[in-house]
């Protein structure tokens, strides 16, 4: 009895209304439910009120992210006064785990002065001036929630309706049959991993579901469309689909169903199919790769032989006699040799030219063969 009273008191304090005085400000929480069902919407309101009006006070507040719950901020109202800040936050929370969970908060108190605010406002788009604040992290105690379990096998929580649509139930083999299932209503967004049961008789092609959700104080209004297509080579039956849902407002379970459907599949002539590469399977072996391989080998051989031929050509050129050398060897007299040296790099053969000049225009005698040999050695 003593324990029960303590629990009741704790829940009352923690879940219904909490007013706490902190340094420079007060804050208060309010939860509209104390013990929600799993995935049942809970509205949390928080009020932050400045109590020390001598300073300029600002706040950064948000709920901490946690796998135990999902939250969405619905509204923020703030007074436009730097010395009397009053902020009112409204959050929508969905508990995602049954049992006791804690809603945690991040709160930062930002203290500054009028001068700092004035300075930060003096900037413009091209000359931004930052607001200097003293940031103090405030540790708020977490809010506990006692989350109730859902009835066994419940997939959706809320008040939903299900509609489905087939374009046709007669098709040719492998022709896709479009199939849509739409779940809409109020509650936790009705997202399901496997809507259709697995069946070897047909193939299911799926797309990502198209989700439209609007959060409000009344909960979440959702519409989820599951676009799919079914395809098979023989007639098949789509087993009935049953989704168990729970409405926390009425605290009653109900079922959303898609009745059994029969699809009549007619056979088609394989030759009329557009995709004849994979279906039907090739009747003859494909040897085209051999042709490709042969052409690659020919190209490789051509490249290799070209490279070798350039090497051979260079070798042949090296062994070919220098034409200038040949011309020197063919010179029979001093005059023709001098003429040849003048025509080429005369500065390179200065000494030989001087000797030839002596022989031709001076009184000296020269050994023509020796001069010729000297030139050949220089080359």
């Amino acid at each position: 009895m003593k324990h029960n009273l303590g629990k009741i008191l704790k829940l009352f304090i923690a879940l219904s209304f909490v007013l706490v005085f902190a340094e420079d400000f007060t804050y208060s929480f309010h939860l509209d439910k104390q013990d929600p069902y799993l995935k049942e919407p809970v509205i949390l309101t928080l009020d932050l009120n400045q109590s020390n009006h001598d300073i300029v006070l600002m706040f950064n507040f948000d709920l901490q992210k946690n796998d135990d719950y999902f939250f969405q901020r619905l509204d923020t109202e703030e007074t436009d006064s730097h010395h009397n800040t009053q902020i009112h936050y409204v959050y929508l929370i969905y508990p995602l785990k049954s049992g006791e969970i804690n809603i945690s908060f991040d709160l930062m108190k930002k203290v500054t002065t009028d001068d700092s605010v004035a300075y930060s406002f003096s900037g413009d788009r091209d000359n931004v001036k930052g607001l200097v604040t003293t940031d103090i992290k405030i540790t708020l105690p977490p809010l506990p929630l006692n989350v109730k379990k859902l009835p066994q096998g419940t997939a959706l929580v809320g008040d939903f309706t299900l509609t489905h649509k087939f374009k046709k139930n007669k098709a040719e083999a492998y022709e896709p049959v479009p199939f849509e299932v739409k779940i809409e209503g109020s509650g936790y967004p009705p997202l399901l991993d496997n809507l259709l049961p697995k069946d070897v008789k047909f193939t299911v092609f799926t797309e990502n579901p198209i989700v439209q959700s609007t959060h409000s104080r009344q909960g979440t209004q959702s519409s989820v469309l599951y676009p799919m297509a079914l395809s098979g080579d023989n007639s098949f039956d789509l087993s009935p689909i049953t989704i168990k849902a729970f409405n926390p407002k009425t605290m009653k379970s109900y079922e959303l169903t898609v009745p059994e459907q029969h699809f009549t599949i007619s056979k088609v002539d394989v030759n009329t199919l557009v995709d004849r590469t994979d279906y039907p399977k090739p009747l003859e072996s494909d040897w085209s790769w051999l042709g490709s391989l042969f052409s690659y080998l020919v190209i490789f051989a051509a490249g290799y032989l070209t490279a070798i031929s350039i090497k051979w050509k260079k070798k042949i050129l090296l062994h070919t006699n220098d034409p200038f050398k040949e011309k020197i060897e063919n010179c029979n007299d001093e005059r023709s040799l001098l003429q040849l040296l003048m025509a080429t790099e005369s500065k390179k053969f200065v000494k030989s030219i001087e000797k030839l000049e002596k022989g031709l225009y001076g009184n000296g005698k020269i050994n023509f063969k020796q001069v010729k040999q000297e030139i050949l050695e220089k080359l």
């Binding site: 005059r335 003429q339 025509a343 080429t344 000049e357």
Partner: protein
């Protein structure tokens, strides 16, 4: 070889290592009153060489860096208005010197290049309505970047013809490079001293005039000149397609003078065919205008000149 020439070469070798072609060309130009065009990559001691030559001869030297925004008045000078006495005075440009280095001449537009024409040929400058004579000796050594480089204007044929010789300068040999490196690093290049005065230079020029050239060689020069204009007549039908225009009469004068100067520099008193052979490439190189076909085939003027020498029999 003339003693003064030996002295001059020795003095130049204090500042310039290698580059004999350039030094020889400059001396030929100086002795025969010609201008020299040098083509080569930067850093081949072109400025150093002409500077050293000016010092060794005790002559004035000026350098003009040709740029695309250079104006003719920047080089020849201009008439300047004096507001105090409402008169005009002449401000002479850097052309008024003995040795002029026109650096990267083909980076300037045609109007600036043309401003050099009158000075190079007539040795006089006209500013406003006044004409000024340029002191002798006057040598223009112009450098040009290969036409393949970016931002260069091709020199017009008329101006190219004003240059006695076009020298193609290459990098030094490995041995010369080693010496340059050592001397450059230790700053042991010696100061060039004056070894020749103006009178001695004029004496050398007078001596050059005494160099004998045989009539047969004169005839040989004429044949060389004519063969560039009408190759087929001289058995050079195979190169007729490659030449658009042959060399001008200035080429024959310059070849004649350059061959004599070469003989003089070699210490001879007469010209031999070899002297002509030594200078003909430099004299003809920039004067033969190649046809489109020849340029497309990658033929250059040096190859044409070599074929001409090879074909025409020497006296």
């Amino acid at each position: 070889m003339n003693e003064k020439i030996i002295q001059l070469k020795q003095e130049l070798s204090k500042a310039v290592i290698g580059q004999e072609t350039m030094i020889e060309g400059l001396l030929i130009g100086l002795l025969s009153d010609g201008h020299i065009l040098i083509e080569g990559v930067p850093g081949l001691a072109k400025t150093t060489t002409i500077n050293a030559l000016a010092k060794a001869l005790g002559l004035d030297f000026k350098r003009i860096q040709f740029t695309p925004d250079l104006l003719p008045s920047d080089i020849i000078g201009a008439q300047i208005y004096n507001p105090q006495d409402h008169s005009f005075s002449i401000k002479k440009g850097p052309l008024f010197t003995n040795l002029l280095l026109a650096d990267e001449i083909n980076r300037a537009p045609a109007k600036v290049q043309s401003a050099l024409l009158e000075v190079m040929q007539e040795r006089q400058v006209t500013i406003a309505d006044e004409t000024f004579k340029i002191d002798s000796p006057f040598l223009v050594m112009a450098t040009q970047n290969p036409i393949e480089q970016e931002g260069v204007y091709a020199l017009p044929e008329a101006q190219l013809d004003r240059f006695m010789m076009k020298l193609v300068v290459h990098h030094n040999s490995e041995e010369e490079e080693l010496e340059i490196m050592r001397k450059g690093a230790t700053k042991s290049f010696k100061e060039v001293e004056k070894v020749l005065n103006l009178e001695e230079l004029q004496n050398l020029q007078r001596e050059l005039e005494k160099i004998h050239i045989d009539k047969e060689l004169e005839q040989y020069i004429i044949q060389l000149i004519s063969s560039t204009r009408d190759p087929a007549k001289f058995g050079l039908g195979n190169i007729a397609q490659d030449i658009m225009f042959g060399v001008s009469p200035r080429a024959s004068i310059d070849l004649y003078k350059a061959a004599k100067a070469k003989a003089f520099l070699r210490g001879n008193t007469f010209v031999t065919p070899a002297d002509i052979g030594y200078v003909i490439h430099d004299v003809f190189r920039h004067r033969i205008v190649l046809s489109y076909e020849a340029r497309a085939k990658g033929i250059n003027t040096d190859e044409i000149i070599s074929k001409i020498i090879e074909t025409l029999p020497i006296p």
